[in-house]
Symmetry: C2
Subunit: 448 residues, 2 copies
Amino acid sequence: MKDIEFIYKDALVSRDEVKETAGVLTSYIGHLSDISKVGKTAPYKIDYNEAGSSINLPFDSSILEMVNDAVKKVDVKNLKYIIVVGIGGSNLGTKAVYDSLRGALDPFFANKTPKIIFADTNSPKLLKDIRTVLEKNIEVSEEVLINIISKSGTTVETIANFEAIYAFLEERFEDIKKRVVVTTDHGSKLWEKAEKDGLEMLPIPQIVGGRYSVFSAVGLFPLALVGIDVTALLNGARVMHDKCVKEDVSENYALMSAVVLYLHNKKGITIHNSFFFNPELESLGKWYRQLMAESIGKRYTTDGKEVHTGITPIVSIGSTDLHSMVQLYLGGLKDKFTTFIYASGNSGKEAVPKNLVFPDLVEGIEGMEFAKIMDTIFSGVKESYKKGGLPFIEILFPQIDEYSLGQFLQFKMIEIMFLARLFEINAFDQPNVEDYKKEVRKILLSEK
Amino acid sequence: MKDIEFIYKDALVSRDEVKETAGVLTSYIGHLSDISKVGKTAPYKIDYNEAGSSINLPFDSSILEMVNDAVKKVDVKNLKYIIVVGIGGSNLGTKAVYDSLRGALDPFFANKTPKIIFADTNSPKLLKDIRTVLEKNIEVSEEVLINIISKSGTTVETIANFEAIYAFLEERFEDIKKRVVVTTDHGSKLWEKAEKDGLEMLPIPQIVGGRYSVFSAVGLFPLALVGIDVTALLNGARVMHDKCVKEDVSENYALMSAVVLYLHNKKGITIHNSFFFNPELESLGKWYRQLMAESIGKRYTTDGKEVHTGITPIVSIGSTDLHSMVQLYLGGLKDKFTTFIYASGNSGKEAVPKNLVFPDLVEGIEGMEFAKIMDTIFSGVKESYKKGGLPFIEILFPQIDEYSLGQFLQFKMIEIMFLARLFEINAFDQPNVEDYKKEVRKILLSEK
């Protein structure tokens, strides 16, 4: 298997700066590496004592076995739609992998089943449309499965969506209870209730935060169900994991990336632009956006010092956003660090024809492969960044497949753990989310 | 018709600051108002002498007539797919309106035709999928129409996509030439070639820039073709236009919004978060993202002073991003100004059922309408912003329909013209886009 490549020669940081900053993390790397040794001891039963141990999920064969068993119980041949009811960490990883592999036009291929439909927020329009899709296309209950995913089991949007979708399916199908799989923390209130009702259940290890949970049943079950090769996904993650617990910064992608992001942030660069040159990777960008925002945007350090730290993650798509955002990136405020992500491979042979309807409008494109056009644009953009003195790193996928995606996901989760350490903040909590939830509860109470 | 509302009480700016800054724009407002008087003189024939006159597109009845004539020539009943081949300003406005009205699940409703498929970037995966959709679902040429849209007529991605799609349709349909509509600048090379070939054509007024062209044939033709009420869209734009050429800042939404954005930027707030609480409005956010980024992200002032100015536009979706970005927004760096956009109306009666499968997990949601849940979350979020001292304004849609969308689009285009004036930069050019294009050309030449 070819691995993803990481290139940092245009990061615009000095060797000394990198070495010094990476040095700060030596003991933490040792610590992660120790956790990882626990994880890799046969029979891969991991000791989930601390949040960082989520990096060992890919080594936990008991999770994969459990997921495979759950998939076997489903009559996949007749299954048309999996409704993933979940929001934030409960669906972004799944959506990232699914969209990367299926592409934006997946819903147009009605016969390519099973398909995932994501029910995240409580949109009247979205709910109505899901209802209509199911009414029109589902004739027997075996064609649908609801996977409700909530770590706490008390997420408002998730419970509301589940109840509404369940209710309208229940009107049509007596055995709809058999078409539900509940993914939640072992021991949550939802878990207890689901157990009492005899529903199919999959546990999330309690210590694993939502945004680090893609390699638990949260991501693996729905992905395996639609036929995505989760074993390859986990293989990629394992290989990347081994790279990212090395002390040598020049070999450790996550470490180098974190150090470079940190150094630029110290110099006032407050935006991290993940610039994907394959449009099907946009949801992968949104997964990373959550990972970075929730982990790094913190009011207090772990020592309780008020800092209001943070890097704002943004996601761009090439070449689409060259016609939208790049004027700002090249001409505007120099407040961005860019990670370019590009897969030039598995492109097939799509090409411009040799005989054109409109010759002479664009020089030299006759017969050119689409992948080649994008390669050229990608190179041109990097050149313009260099000339503009804009710092960037590159992540190159050999192709977009499960193995590469597994590598990327693991790379980024460890990068964020390192980055949080450098900022001296907690990578695993999200205390300020409570701020608005508190206000929502107040309003609900005042209206009673 | 109910108009959209604009609320600025939580903008955290003083009356005096606003008054002083708005005063700077008095003569420019007078100027826009003068242009608008030209536009409103019967028979609505506009003098397109300067870029800003794009604000008069909604008054130009000759455009609507031309578009309606072109629509009449198409056998809409049999039409299944319109392939809009265009990128940046050539498709973002169309996609904004289309997605806002159709929603994310539109492709699941195969019978709801005609549908638009957007071909923007040169993705091998996207092209292959478009080819497959057309191969599987199109039997006669009347079922498909290609609308190629390029202002200059020389956009690489657009020409490449068009040639590839045309070529594989030509293999199957002899008369495919009749299934093409070319939208381009009157007199461009593409225009001349299309004319020679006898293709159907629609002109873009040369002075109107791509990102200001949604009310020209660029947006109106494909939208009208799928049955969207473009007359209502233009009506909304006209009403908003009249508001936005008023001198009184408290009545002029565009002026107030621009002034507030400018004042916060002067205080170091460099990110503008457009936070939409209806997920179907995400593409509308992406349209605005281009409008702001290309117009405001400038290296030089109109006087030639090097400034590297700019506000980075980001787009958030409620409640989805409450589970992704809001930790950063509430806890992280205070570098963002937020515009909340929300339509509470036209929600139907989607609701949580009264009897729950999982009672007691979330208090008080039994029987609650989805719109009510979102209203509550929206209010809670605003409260948490107030308590955190985070500045915001609100744009409230009475419902999501053509009229409201027309208002919003016009509001934002005029806002950006005002904002550029305050920054003393050109709102209508994008000189640095040339930077990467130059590099692309160099690479192509060196490989010859």
